[in-house]
Amino acid sequence: METIVFALLNGVIYGLLLFMLSSGLTLIFSMMGVLNFAHASFYMLGAYFAFTIMGATSFWIALFLAPVLVGLVGAVVERYGLRRVHANGHVAELLFTFGLAYLIEEIVKIFYGKTAVDYKIPSLLDFPAFTIYGASFPAYRMFMLVIAIGMLIGLWFLLKKTRAGLIIQAALTHPHMVGHLGHNVPLIFMTVFGIGCALAGLAGVIAGNIFVTDPAMAVQMGPIVFVVVVVGGIGSLEGAFLASILIGLLQNFAVGISASFADIFWFTGLSPTSEIGDITVSSLAPVLPFLLLVLMLIFRPRGLMGEQEL
């Protein structure tokens, strides 16, 4: 029972974090057709910027300032990089962001060193929130939950209730039509790219201190975020949300289960000492998202809630 409760709590928090990262990527991908390989690099930048700003001022300033800075970096990248390679087609754009991810990692290594930086949880939030089943649950994780839900509501409000949101939604599916209506599509692209990166940066700010802030954090997060976007489906924030929560729960539940294949498939007579029988569900955790991705691409290429095929 306690395993379930904790897996549920951690899974939802991790899932919301994934959504914070993938919502921007989904917007960018649906609108511009660019699968931004460097998206997780903006997540990393968020954590590092926050570390620097926190060192100079406080965490609360970093919480607002770091995502804004990351968003500005994103807008510049779109304006002076992506827009230029756009003429050479989608493969060139993909390769550009791929190279950019490389570049950002190396620049971070030069500025912050090759090993992890000591990005700490603010002392104001460094206490146990509540205790269940003999284990305490840290307040900072509750704070992450609050921020993530706040972002969710904010994004929903922006897209559904404002004029800018309507235009963005229209541009998601019919960019040319929006252009014909007299809207400045390149500006919309740049804004959306910037907002997407800022959201990734925000995820970095609140996750960098609970996980580890090091130059490898982008590479580790990147592929999972792709999985979310593809599984969720193109052009569907709802899909991305479902996929994020699904993957968050899947991974956290899998780690919590010690049963091995031999235990699960006992009826086949699988020996617990054999190579396959010895595999435990918890060791499957890192594989599951990618299994989901490959299966999804083969059997349902439009994802959970996407409207068009990838």
Binding site: E2, T3, G113, A116, A135, P138, G256, S283
Partner: protein, 411 residues
Amino acid sequence: MSIKTAALAAAVSVVAVSSAMADVKFAFIDPLSGPMGPSGEAGYTSFLLAAEHINANGGVNGEQIEVKGYDNKVNPKESLVQLQKAIDDGVRYIFQGNGSSVAAAIIDAVNKHNQRNPGDEVLFFNYAAVTPDFTNDGCSFWHFRFDAHADMKMAAITDYIQGQDDIKKVYLIGQDYIFGQAVAAAAESQLKEKRPDIEIVGNELHPLAKVKDFTPYIQKIISSGADAVITGNWGADMQLLMKAAAESGSEIPYFTFYGGSLGAVSALGEGAIDRLYQVTEAITNLDASDEQYALIEEYKQRFPEYDYYYHRAFNALNMFKQAAETAGSNDPIPVAFALEGMTYEEPYGTATMRADDHQLQQNLYISTVSKDVKYGVDNIDLGWKLLDGGKIDAAAAEQPTTCQMERPEKP
């Protein structure tokens, strides 16, 4: 940027100056970047300081020594590329310690190199990779180990647990590779023998250097109802495990090989007192000579981000010096023969390099975290304090070996 790198640089520049006239070259092949980077750097700085002291005292047989770092990212294949590079640079002695997977690859590669390039041999001084096999069935004449292996350390831990009647359930957690597997196997067999009443309530292996959040694992430990945890985790895996343990507020004691890993004590804070135990070949708070205290203080002053932890790095280089001077040569084969069976008076006792398997036999110490100490760690006032009866003599820690050593012709 940071004080750490500034101090490291100062050391590097001193060594770099001497490298112009360096005659004996040592390669330090370990992670210098990535999650395990700090672990490698703590070892590297220890070797640099040890080399500096030897050079200041006239070198070895009149020759200066140089230690150069090669970053292997804890990857066996990358290590072999770096090993090749080091050999091409004229290196004849290799230091490595982080990761038995890497050590196994280096032993294999050194064996092959020495077989294929007679007259151009290299020796491998292993300062921390403690899978027992390397000095048992997998032993090699070209490999010397300066750290107690997993069975020896586990024997120390299980001896202690034997006397703790309130421990009824033990949880094992470790890294999923030969070392972690060896630790788990040793714990299972030794506990069964010494305390058959103890139930092993969990035996978990997680990927090496990949887990960022140990919360689910800690959750499993708590719900298993364990009274104690035994782990061989090191580097970031140790630090992050402790971070998650601290967050959960659980009070289960941890018996570790590497509780002294950078940042593990500070992650737990005061919660570490009487809760985190480690078994090592030395701790800074043992009684020692003024000279040794001066060395500890010099290290701390030069490398403020790290603590004097890799005592065995100093032992290894000093033993090299003693062996080379006994042999009257700085060449690998004479040094190797001189090391066999050599005794060395180290600051905390007598160490013997057992000739049968090239496993150093030395005193082991079980310690726990305390406030009442001379030297703290992680730049806080908590430090390691010897347990009552925590000293295990070299003779008591000794384990039998199955090694069938094949030796080259003695020069």
